[in-house]
Amino acid sequence: MQQPRPSASAPGHVGVKTIRTSELQPNPHNPRMLFDRAPLEMLKASIEKVGILVPLTVYWAKAQNAWVILDGQRRWMCAGELGLKTVHVNEVAEPDLVQNIVTMFQIHKLREDWELMPTALKLEVLMRELKEKKDKQLAVLTGLDQAVVARCKKLLSYPKSYQDLMLDPDPAKRVKADFFIELYAVRNDRVVNKMRWFRRDKFTQRMLEKYQRHSSGLKAVTDFRTMKQHIANAHTAKRDTQLSAKLKEFTYDDSLTIDHLVVSGAGTAAETRRLLALVAKVEESLASMNVADYYGENELWRRLEHLLKLIRQKLLAAGRRLRA
């Protein structure tokens, strides 16, 4: 049987009120391992001095029969640690599932140390409920970086049994999302998918076994980039048949290393060396450049801007993560 709402707080009337700190519950859509200790200590010190200046945003969750925080979990945690009996809150109407998820995304953004799979699963709910699949739209909606949306969608493309591996209770056994994200490029490669022996899930399983055994030719998740490059090189050199045989051998023979996938005559080593030399020259010139001497050289700045854009595009296409 449901208990009556706490009378002092008289929920239902949207607006600012005061309720007991202990009556509040964190939002279930929040990642629990959410808050870094240092900024939390700073906020605590501030609250101790001047109190909570901005009321917490809360709603009355009918099903749970409880006050749930929509925004202000850090303030609430500090209030609890400081022993504040009550806090000012701003009650808003109970959000539905989609509204709640979107709000949580917008408030917390995504941090690198959070597990990506729960975020991907929330994104899945949003995609289904809103019938929206475009990365750009989803990024705007959630406040997530477009690249993060793309990564989440890659995870969602895997069967549920693989998704579960990213949710294992034992952190040591939990497979990192990066494994599946890096594998995606090979698993979905058109050339590879045309190979007669290739079965996506069997291949995924074998790669997982190789990766978990460490001593079986696959040392790091970034090896899939090298694998993808060897595939592209072989395809460009029209050596798909040779590549297919080599990839099959590598897949099922744990004694082989990634180098086994090199198809003779299909390498880009010489071109890579040439590009590296050019990049080194440009780097050296730019490092020694005194900017003030070149203020008026508009054409130079225009070309550099263009170069920057091009480098960015290429890095993104290569799946490199760019930092601001």
Binding site: P28, M117, L165
Partner: protein
């Protein structure tokens, strides 16, 4: 922990055969020869090793099935028939590492409770499907696994991702074959999961605890010496649990090291790999 035979009971072929029979079905074959080799390092105190083997609580596949069969009807609101069930019920493997216990436990749980038929399929879902199920307070999620020794892993899992997958506050049950009292308490206080276990291990199941009266102080010291040889970092098992429980599919890491550690210094009878 089982009561061992009295001190000085002969370590003869009958006793050896009895152990081999009792431990049959373990993931690695346990022969009389393997048992004999395992007793070797006890030297002139082989009686201690023999009594330790007597005390091992071996949970066979049949016992696991029996435990799962016994627990489910105890859960309020459950009925095999849809009409008699309260709310939506979902059964989920707690640990999901490829080929690990959680997956196989869920399978055993399903067959033990006679729910192999296709009509029960919707009740058994993946963890990654929980969020989209939109389970509410009238619904029940049952996580199925074999064992909780300290409860630490379950609590960490709850904090790192499980709670996020269950925003609608359904009733959450962690259904286990066995759990320590400490684990039950920790999980109960730090998460919203309620532990239902067929067997509850107490301090008397901790071989090194004073309330374990099957072994004398001297015998415990000898066992500990060998445990330290087998695994200097965790001689009493993970979380210093000191248990002697072994499941047919795997020995928990909370059990004492001489049972499962397998390295250059020691060859455990119940290796985990």
């Amino acid at each position: 922990m089982r009561t061992p035979k009295s001190r000085g009971a002969p370590i003869d072929s009958t006793r050896l055969a009895g152990w081999a029979r009792r431990f049959s079905g373990y993931r690695r074959p346990i022969t009389e020869q393997a048992i004999d080799s395992w007793l070797g390092p006890f030297g002139d105190q082989q009686d201690v090793g023999a009594r330790l083997l007597d005390s091992v609580e071996y949970v066979s596949h049949d016992l696991i099935d029996g435990a799962f069969k016994a627990i489910l009807p105890r859960l309020s609101g459950w009925s095999k028939g849809t009409a008699g069930r309260t709310g939506k019920w979902r059964f989920v493997a707690f640990s999901t590492s490829a080929g690990e216990s959680g997956d196989s436990m869920l399978f055993r749980f399903r067959t033990a409770n006679g729910m192999s038929a296709a009509r029960y399929r919707e009740l058994f879902i993946h963890k990654s499907e929980l969020l989209r199920e939109e389970l509410g307070p009238d619904d029940t999620v049952v996580f199925v696994d074999d064992f909780a020794g300290t409860g630490r892993q379950a609590c960490e899992a709850w904090a790192s991702n499980l709670a996020e997958l269950l925003p609608g506050n359904p009733r959450v049950v962690l259904l286990l074959v066995a759990a320590s009292r400490t684990a039950r308490k920790k999980i109960g206080s730090e998460t919203l999961m309620r532990v239902e276990s067929h067997r509850v291990l107490t301090t008397s199941d901790d071989l090194f605890h004073s309330s374990c009266s099957h072994f004398s102080g001297t015998e415990k010291r000898r066992i500990l010496e060998l445990c330290q040889l087998a695994d200097p970092r965790k001689p009493k098992g993970f979380g210093d649990c000191g248990f002697v429980i072994v499941f047919a599919h795997r020995c928990p890491n909370n059990s004492i090291a001489i049972l499962h550690a397998s390295n250059r210094r020691w060859k455990g009878l119940f290796p985990r790999d």
